[in-house]
Each structure stands twice: as C-alpha cells, then as structure tokens.
C-alpha cells in the first residue's frame, strides 16, 4: 500500500526533483531547530495559527506571480491589484450595507462585494495580459506600470486614507477560525492552491502555459493561442491577487492603498526560491508552497527572539535563497542545473 503511494506519479515527481527535496529538508530542519530552541513558544497551537493567518496574504499573491513567471513573464502588479480590489470591495460593502443594515442585507453586500473584487481583479489582470501579449511590452515594464496605475487608482478612490468600519460579519467569517482552530485565510489559501494545482496538473491550460513559457514560437506554431493564454494567465494572477486583497481586507478589517507594499519583491523571492525559472517553462506549485512556508516559519521563528532584530530577516531570506540555489547548483546530479541551463537571454 505505502509502496504504491511512494511510487505513485506525483510522489515520484517530487522525490525526483532534488530541489523540492532540498526545500522540504530545509523546512523540516528549521521547524526542528525552532522547536528545539524555543519549544514553549514554537510548539504552541497559537504560533501555528498566527502563521496560518499571515502567509496566505502573500502566498496568494505569490501564486499569481508563479503562473506568470512560468510563461517567462512576471507580475509586479499583484500588490496593486490586491489593494485596488479590496478597496473597491470595501467601498461597495459599506455602501450596500451601511451601519445598521439587516443580516440578510449584510450577507448580500458581502457576497456582491467579493464577486466585484474578483471581477475587478480579473479585469486588471486582463489589462496586464493584453499589454504583454498584444502590445508586446516586456512584462516587467507592463506590470511595474500597472502597479503604479492600480495603486494610483486606489489612492484616488480613498485619498490615501484607509477604508474601514466594514460590517463585522465580514471579518468574523474571513478572519475567523473554522471550528475555532483553523484560521479561514489558510483555508482560502489551501483552496487556491488546490485550484491552481488542478489547473496546472489536470487541465490543458496548465500544460499549455508551461509550453508557452518554454518556447513561445513553437507554441504559436503548434496552434496554441498564445495571446489568449497570456491574457488568461495574467487574468488568473489578477484573480488570485484580488483574493489576497480580500484576505487582507479581513485580516486588517480595512483596506488601504499601501498595504503590503513590501510584498512585491517578497513574492518574486518566494517564487524563485520555489524553483520557478524566471525564464519560464518550469517550476512546481509544490516548491512555491514550500517556499512560502519556509519564509513564514523563519520570520515567525525570528520574532520569538526579542534580541534578534527584524532587520536580520532580509539577511536570512537572502541567505536562504543563495544557499539553496548554490546547493542545487553544486549537486551536479540535480535537475536544476539543466532547468536553469537555458541561456538567460531567452527570457
């Protein structure tokens, strides 16, 4: 039975990928380290809940960045989309369910606002996709521009002020805990991972975007609708970003134009640590999820040491990134060597 599982295709795919094995080893090692050094705080349900509230925010954004990077692009605008959509949702929610609204009205307002946020996220992503695929502006420029654009729209709507005073029901549901134990954000994240995983592994779309990222000319000459694929990829990223925005909206019970401004580079860091090649065509969802977890455990672990300033955080993150990549590189049998061996200019 167990041997069957171990030999099953997905498990084999993971164990064959030495980068994933290394990330997994790293995660286990740092969890073990913190558990040994600070058992009383680290092995505490509250710590894990706290982590489960935190990482879904940037984890969701990283999923979108991952998808775009697989097509040899990048999405720097995710934070802008998240803030713009969560502000839109918050404003809508407040106008549909002003204080004192009935329960039903509130429920409806919340549902409509969530749908609105997702649609706006999809539209924003579509704009990115069209600019990349149709106008053929390099993705890094497109999304840098739209990051400014979306953040700008968020500022215009709010005059830079937070939008708060949401119906408490929203936060109770989305920042609450299922059965009082499992934080809802992590459930949202797990749901998104499942959807992305399904799309990547079970649908033609997933295969196609990896193929597109590998060789755009061959993709076009194989009859793939490359424009449509790119647009849908950025659209997908936009929807995931708006989901991230909705989680932030719940976590902070407010929305603001500059929430999570440090997430932009963080998500890129996570995605490359997860083993996605910035030149497109390869990478695994599981690696990105592991990278998200590693960074979260590291940062929560560090917060348990009052004397270690948070300024060491980037140092440690950067160090981890360099160490993992160097380890991959020097283990010659690792498939990563080949993974990255394509010339950089083919970006």
């Amino acid at each position: 039975m167990t041997s069957n599982i171990l030999e099953s295709r997905p498990v084999r795919a993971i164990t064959r990928d030495s980068h994933l094995v290394r990330l997994l080893g790293m995660l286990v090692a740092i969890v073990a380290l913190f558990a040994l050094v600070k058992p009383e705080s680290f092995l505490n349900l509250r710590t894990w809940q706290s982590m489960a509230i935190q990482f879904p925010e940037y984890g969701l954004l990283a999923l979108g960045v991952m998808l775009t990077m697989m097509t040899a692009g990048i999405d720097l605008s995710v934070v802008g989309i998240a803030n713009m959509t969560s502000i839109g949702a918050a404003v809508l929610m407040l106008s549909l369910a002003p204080e004192g609204a009935s329960g039903g009205q509130v429920a409806l307002a919340i549902a409509v606002s969530i749908a609105f946020a997702l649609v706006v996220g999809a539209l924003a992503g579509t704009l990115n996709g069209l600019l990349v695929a149709k106008v053929r502006i390099p993705p890094i420029l497109v999304t840098l521009g739209t990051l400014e654009l979306f953040t700008g729209i968020a500022i215009i709507i709010t005059a830079g002020k937070p939008v708060s005073g949401l119906p408490p029901a929203y936060g109770e549901v989305f920042a609450g805990k299922l059965f009082g134990v499992v934080p809802v954000p992590v459930i949202v994240f797990a749901f998104a991972v499942a959807v992305v995983g399904l799309v990547m592994n079970k649908t033609a779309f997933g295969t196609k975007i990896l193929m597109l990222g590998t060789n755009a000319t061959a993709a076009r000459l194989s009859g793939l609708n490359t424009t449509g694929l790119l647009v849908r990829t950025y659209l997908f990223s936009g929807v995931l970003a708006s989901l991230g925005g909705l989680v932030m909206l719940a976590n902070y019970n407010s929305a603001k134009a500059d929430y999570g401004s440090t997430y932009t580079l963080l998500t890129v860091l996570i995605v490359v640590l997860g083993g996605v090649n910035p030149n497109g065509g390869s990478g695994r969802l599981f690696g990105v999820v592991l990278a998200v977890l590693i960074l979260q455990v590291l940062s929560s672990g560090l917060n348990m040491f009052p004397n270690v300033s948070n300024f060491y955080r980037p140092l440690i993150w950067g160090g981890v990134l360099l160490a993992v990549m160097a380890a991959n590189y020097f283990s010659k049998d690792g498939p990563l060597l080949r993974r990255f061996s394509r010339k950089e200019r083919s970006a």
Binding site: Q54, E57, K161, Y252, Y259, M304, P306, F311
Partner: protein, 320 residues
C-alpha cells in the same frame, strides 16, 4: 479565546514581559524610542523590549504582533503604522488576555489606552504657529505629508490648516496643491519643493509634517535663492537638523521625545498589568507625561503635553 500563554499564568507577581512595537527602526525616531524602553527595563528590571517590523509597513507590523501574541507576552505597546490595519490583530491580542496600549493611535478601537504626547490637532496648530511666525502671519502656503496614506501626518496638517483659518486670516492655503507628498524621503521633499516654488511664485510657506520634510524643503529654499522669502516648519530631531536651525533656513522645529513616549507606554502597560487604576492625571513617571488627561469625550485616549520646540538657541541642549 485563549489564555495568556505560559509565562502569563500568574503575572501578578510583577514579572511581566512587555513588548513595544514601533513602526520601524531605521528612523532615528524609533531608535531614540528604544533608548527609553531600555531605560525602563533597566529601571524596573522587567523584561521589556522593542521589536518592530523591518520596514514601515502595516502588514509587517501586524505580523510582528501576531507572533508576539503567539509567544504569550503580557503586554504589547504599539505605535501603529496604520490603526485601521491593526484592529483585528489587536482585538485578538486582547481576547488572548494581553494588555494592549498604543501611542499615536488616537483612532484605534482595539486598545485599552492610547497615549498621545499631545493632541494631534493642537500639534498641527503649533507647527502652524511656527510657520506663521516665520511668514509674518501672511501669505500663501501649502502642507506636505510623508505619504497621503499616513494618518497622523494628515491629522497634523488638517489641524494646522484649521488653526490657520482661525488665527491667521491673512494666510491662504494654496488651493491648487493643498497637500503634497514627500514620500518620507528628503530627496523627494527637496525636488517637490523646488517644483512647487517654480510653479507658484507666490508661495511663501510650506508646512512639513514628516521629519524629512522641513530639511528637504530648506535645501530647496536655499538653492533657489529664496532664503528669507520662503519659510518652512515641521517636525524634526535636534541633531539631524542642527545646521538648518543654526543657519536660519528653518526657524523652529517641533518634536516630542520618543524615548519618553516609549518609557511612558511601558509604564502604562505595567500599571494595567499590576491592576492599578488608570484615571485622569495618571502619572507615567516621565516629564510631560506626569499628569495625563483623557481627551475630550474619550475614556481611552490619554493626552500629555510632551512636545517641545527646538530652535537655534536650544538645539544643543537635548543630547540626541
């Protein structure tokens, strides 16, 4: 709900763990605050420490607090980057039995008490007084904030504008650009001021809020050859601004000593933990905070009178 973690099971013996969470720490402001926090730890022998996010970012700050809750500290004293963003996490902290106090967070709902070194509107009014004095009480002016998303800066600026409307009828706010942004960056403050002064030749004053504003504006005034014609005022640390005060580019800056605020926050948290009553005129054992008063209509916001003016005469007397 949860219980306040292992060490918090019987905190009444006075062995408290108090964490102070600033907005960030490169800003000399919070470095200075940490001095107060350390002094408090030394004075009382309690486990009091400062732990902030690596960058001024509301989400990062919330995460630091999340982790502190998980560790079961007894009290958290926060200088919120953005009060709105912290409501959820601070509520969680209080639900977990942790004492929460804030500083510069008058609008914070989920806090037991908020300490203000002063009233934000009053503080803004006071900066305006400084500016008006320099401008001779007349002329066109505008306001500069670190970010349009920064709540306190905007409150100060609003307070300043309101005060001007009342007290300085001969001054007018620049309608076309009533509020500009320095992005908490001295270089941007400088470039923005240059642009303003080019476009609006009648502009006579810029009211700064962030500690980067006035020095940057002063640089622009100096370069454009407008010294003595255009003025600025704002917040700033003495040592960082000694030169512009001495050479007269800026006549006066305002500040409160963040070390004192850090000390006061820790003391307030300890008092709550020890079960002491908090009421009007509570004494937080540091100058300017000896007789805190509730703000009008609030039973949460405690205001002191902790701001000071620095000018070229007293700039050397602070030691920071």
């Amino acid at each position: 709900a949860g219980s306040p973690a292992p060490s918090g099971s019987a905190p009444a013996d006075g062995d408290f763990t108090i964490a102070v969470v600033p907005k960030d720490a490169t800003n000399p402001w919070f470095v200075r605050m940490e001095e107060g926090v350390k002094k408090y730890a030394a004075d009382t022998g309690l486990n009091v420490f400062q732990k902030g996010p690596a960058e001024t970012d509301a989400t990062m700050q919330a995460q630091v607090i999340q982790d502190l809750i998980a560790q079961g500290v007894d009290a958290i004293a926060v200088v919120p980057v953005d009060p709105g963003a912290l409501e959820t996490v601070l509520k969680e902290a209080m639900d977990a039995g942790i004492v929460v106090v804030t500083h510069e967070g008058a609008s914070q709902q989920n806090t037991m008490y908020d300490i203000e070194a002063f009233n934000n509107a009053d503080y803004g009014a006071f900066i305006m007084d400084n500016l008006a004095e320099a401008m001779g009480g007349e002329g066109l002016y505008t306001t500069m904030v670190g970010h349009v998303t920064n709540a306190s800066h905007n409150e100060w600026a609003d307070g300043g504008v309101a005060h001007q409307a009342e007290a300085y009828p001969n001054m007018t706010l620049l309608e076309a650009e009533p509020r500009v942004e320095s992005q908490d960056d001295g270089e941007v403050a400088y470039q923005t001021a240059k642009e303003l002064l080019k476009k609006y030749p009648d502009l006579k004053g810029i009211m700064g809020t962030s500690s980067f504003d006035a020095p940057g504006v002063a640089r622009a005034i100096e370069e454009l050859g407008l010294k003595g014609k255009v003025f600025t005022a704002g917040t700033g640390m003495p040592a960082a601004n000694k030169q512009i005060l001495v050479d007269g580019s800026v006549s006066a800056l305002t500040l409160w000593d963040p070390a004192d605020a850090g000390y006061a926050m820790a003391e307030l948290a300890r008092k709550i933990l020890a079960g002491e009553e908090i009421g009007d005129t509570v004494d937080l054992k540091v100058k300017g905070y000896e007789a805190m008063k509730f703000a009008e209509g609030s039973d949460k916001v405690l205001e002191g009178n902790g701001w000071v003016v620095i000018n070229k005469d007293n700039v050397d007397s602070f030691g920071f």
